[in-house]
Assembly symmetry: C2
């Protein structure tokens, strides 16, 4: 049960956008360089954030990306759910839990719902601004990179 690079890179992207915010659009190339992530892969990940309206984009020369709202107003859950699609630990309880036809009979469902609750509860208790603050405190902004193919 691991969070994929999509989620982790998305979080780092959002933190980077916050920490390096100057009011003008930040080109993805800058973020990719700072975070040492492939630009092309990054494009796909940020497109997920665009679709969920977490970031605004400006095309063309001097274009780039901007947070859609103040960093206080994002939770880690918002970002991870946008990137990973869903943060529920089992398929049965994605979005509406109308997924599993056996839900009415499933004796384990309450247990999974409880797990889902503590996970998303925690994720939504942490704001992007808090993550950015911690990143600013750390001298340089590094993030865990294990499990990416590139670094093996």
């Amino acid at each position: 049960m691991k969070i994929s690079t999509k989620g982790r890179y998305a979080l780092r992207t959002m933190i980077d956008l916050t920490v390096n915010d100057t009011g003008t659009p930040i080109p993805l190339k800058d973020i990719a360089t700072r975070q040492n992530i492939s630009l092309k892969y990054m494009e796909q990940i940020i497109s997920l954030l665009i679709k969920s309206k977490l970031v605004k984009s400006v095309r063309g020369n001097n274009g780039g990306y901007l947070l859609a709202k103040p960093s206080m107003q994002y939770t880690a859950g918002d970002i991870l759910r946008a990137a990973e699609g869903d943060m529920s630990p089992i398929a049965c309880i994605e979005r509406d839990h109308s997924n599993c036809k056996r839900a009415d009979y499933c004796s384990v469902l309450p247990f999974w719902l409880g797990l889902n609750k503590v996970i998303n509860g925690y994720l939504d208790s942490v704001t992007l601004s808090e993550l950015a603050r911690q990143a600013r405190e750390t001298d340089k902004f590094f993030a865990c990179e294990e499990q990416s193919r590139k670094n093996k």
Copy 2:
């Protein structure tokens, strides 16, 4: 970030062993039939539980499997960690978090450690006997089966 069939089947196996406990070994064939899971796949999963000493096995005719201790003394975390290998949300913090060389500089690590804590804290707050009780209360013991290949 999903729990795989290994973890889910392992949990169902342990619940089945508890609910159907009579003191004598329960053959895996019986569990596989009741739970509608491939016997051969089940063998691999229960071998993980054997290795972690969660169940005892008796070979030969009239053989089968037994809980190694009272169901009160297992947590869902014990079972899922045995089956899934680890229940930490990112590789950096598996077992000892000596995995990631950049741990000292990682500004996101505290966030992931927090997530890890709420996940495993929850998993360890639920006992097998509690899960078995809920299974007994439900008329028939069903468990969610979505996401397995067989059922698609």
